[in-house]
Amino acid sequence: MSDTHAQTVAFVRDTMLPEQPPPASEAGVIKWMRENLFKGWFNSILTIVALYFIFKIVTGAYPWFANGIWTTSSLAECREMLDGMTGACFSVLTERWNQLLFGFTYPPEAYWRPTLAFVLLIVAIAPVLYPKAPRQLLVFTGIYPFVAYWLIWGGTLLAPLMILAGLIAGYFAFKQFERQSFAMGMLAGLVAAIVVIWAGGIIPASLPDALALQAVQSRDLGGFMLNMILGTVCVSLSLPLGILLALGRQSSMPIIKWICVIFIEFIRGVPLITLLFVANVVLAYFFPPGSNIDLVLRVIIMITMFSAAYIAEVIRGGLAALPRGQYEAADSLGLDYAQATRLIIMPQALKISIPGIVNVAVGLFKDTTLVSVISMFDLVGMIRGPILASTEWNGVYWELWGFAVFLFFIVCFSISKYSQWLERQLATDHR
């Protein structure tokens, strides 16, 4: 066998050739560019046109940024320093930095409070958003709303503590009666919470200065802080409310079903701006003159109702997408309605609804700027009203609006990135 070749073939290589690098056109940057940028004449033209426009934009915008002035105290001084050159007047951002973030009436010596509340917010939502975060942090998440309220609005710590105590009492009452039935538990919990909060209300009223921070009126809140407050509060409130509405709409009990249907359809049929006007001007007439319900609270209620209706419809989509078999499987295990919903239906329905919920959340966060129309000074309200109306900064537009765009983009883009990550985490089906 072995000598057959020895007679027919002159040379047989008995070692492997060393690997050659691939041709330059098939590797690295050149290959990537060929495949992605210059594949065919049409793509090549598009690439060149796009490059031209990018070049124009960058060279056009670069001097504006590079010549930017950060230290003057008015637009006129900016123009004097620029002396006819193209350049941005970023001084408005440095001079009005605190106003853009906190509004113009929040006491400056208390700026650390909302800042701290924001830092704590990141700690508090970590265990909710990331399954890997330590579970013990969930306790802090539960306490956080009360701490944040105390930090931002000030006043005595006892008032939020009493409400917290009421909720804890309600929870224990719920646990006590949950064995009998879910509805019984809810009722007992509600009664216990109301009793404790009502009875406990006497303590903060009698000790208004115990553990008190300087109190801040709601109308003194402003700037991006107000957008963040409205966004976080309304999203976190409207999610549970939306779930309840979605379940109510699917309910077989006609009264509950129709209440939910009418609520959802009514709210979805009305523009948010109208609801805000109602909150601002009309509600005031229905209360006696002295009992002025806090404007921020009124707005939070309206925005929450609005987004809850939308989230309810998103979740209803998730519920409808679940195969009937899941409901039947839950029934056949002997679970009652509350258990089946909590353990079988909702986890799956919510997973399907994530993109829709995130969509509503991002939209809601941006919609918080609408409050500027009812003369609240959120970021947009601050820019449109006080800053552009001051004699120093009358006429600065690109810098201010660019800053607002930048802030909103950061938040909305992170929400969207997070939701994509979450979907990948929850992808248990192998499609």
Partner: protein, 339 residues
């Protein structure tokens, strides 16, 4: 939206007429603060500065009333209102008075149930165009696109003016003055129309003010003044006479610099004595202390001082006194006598 706000204001003004007629003076004194409605921001008239303190010509009126009633010009809670929320805020009792360059018109006074207590600025609607358009009169503006603030009387005046002259225009509705400036500069509209004071302020903020002209036509009367609710005449009198005190003080030569000295003892001019409370009982008639007017003048100076400090010729806005000079100097300011 504008219709909505006005309709709301009307319906509700009717509903709440009984509710809000309680004595505003007592409310203010009990609260220790005056709730004064101002604009969300208008150059020279009302805007918060870098420290968050409100400044401006309308703000000066609020401070004067607070000083007269409570003795403290800083005891004011400024409630910012937009063109759409201002009347409901006043009708619902959220604010005690509105000083938000609001034009005194028949329907606002009679139909909406408010009481204009006087005029603190005589304005009129004008037009601003780029010089390169080559227009020298508003009557040449046929077919022009016009930037106009919604919910204001300027909108109605504009329609009247163009209809009366039988020429057409295309409105570009905008919300605030701040919004109008970039739109106008970028050429989204050929013409910007608002009160002449606003035009002057806007033009002063441009990079090249000389490239724009304000046309000679003033197409409307815009008497701007503070207002209160119908039904509490005592409170209306207080705001009215505080404004009159500021105007009379300028006429009589009482300034924030010399008012302390002049009010120390009765001087030779009996009207000044009555105004400053060294003679007579004018303060008592209003339900205020005898030196109410002195405190109001000390808050920010007399009318002329307020004008010069906030919108006068030495400010970036640079408005001339014009119609807003004293009647003795050819203007329209004419305070009834203090007697």
């Amino acid at each position: 939206m504008k219709k909505l706000a006005i309709l709301g204001a009307m319906t509700v003004a009717g509903l709440s007429a009984g509710v809000a007629s309680a004595a505003t003076l007592d409310d203010v004194k009990a609260r220790g603060k005056l709730n004064c409605g101002v604009t969300t921001g208008l150059v020279g008239f009302a805007a918060p500065n870098a420290n968050g303190e409100w400044e401006g010509f309308d703000v000066g009126v609020c401070r004067a009333v607070a000083a007269a009633v409570l003795g403290d010009p800083t005891a004011v809670e400024f409630v910012p209102t937009t063109g759409k929320t201002r009347f409901t805020a006043l009708a619902s009792g959220e604010i005690d008075m509105l000083a938000r360059n609001t034009t005194w018109t028949f329907s606002r006074d009679v139909d909406l149930g408010f009481e204009f207590v006087g005029i603190n600025y005589y304005d009129g609607q004008g037009f601003m165009v780029p010089k390169e358009l080559g227009v020298s009169s508003a009557k040449e503006l046929d077919g022009a696109t016009v930037c106009i603030q919604t919910g204001t009387t300027t909108e109605l005046n504009l329609a009247d003016f163009f209809r009366a002259n039988n020429i057409s225009y295309e409105p570009v509705p905008i919300e605030t003055n701040a919004e109008a400036q970039p739109l106008y500069l970028e050429g989204a509209c050929d013409v910007y129309t608002t009160d002449a004071s606003g035009l002057a302020a806007t033009r002063a903020a441009f990079e090249n003010p000389s490239e724009h002209v304000v046309l000679p036509e003033i197409i409307s009367k815009e008497p701007l003044g503070p207002l209160v609710r119908h039904g509490d005449n005592q409170w209306g009198d207080i705001v009215r006479w505080t404004l009159n005190a500021l105007i009379a003080a300028e006429e009589l030569g009482v300034t924030s610099a010399n008012v302390a000295e002049m009010s120390a003892s009765a001087g030779s001019n009996p009207e000044i004595n009555r105004l400053l409370g060294t003679e007579g009982t004018l303060g008592e008639m209003l339900g205020l202390e005898a030196d109410w007017a002195k405190k109001a003048i000390m808050a920010g100076g007399n009318y002329g001082e307020l004008f010069e400090k906030n919108i006068g010729e030495n400010t970036p806005i640079g408005l001339a006194r014009g119609l807003n000079a004293q009647w003795t100097e050819g203007g329209l300011l004419y305070s009834p006598p203090f007697r």
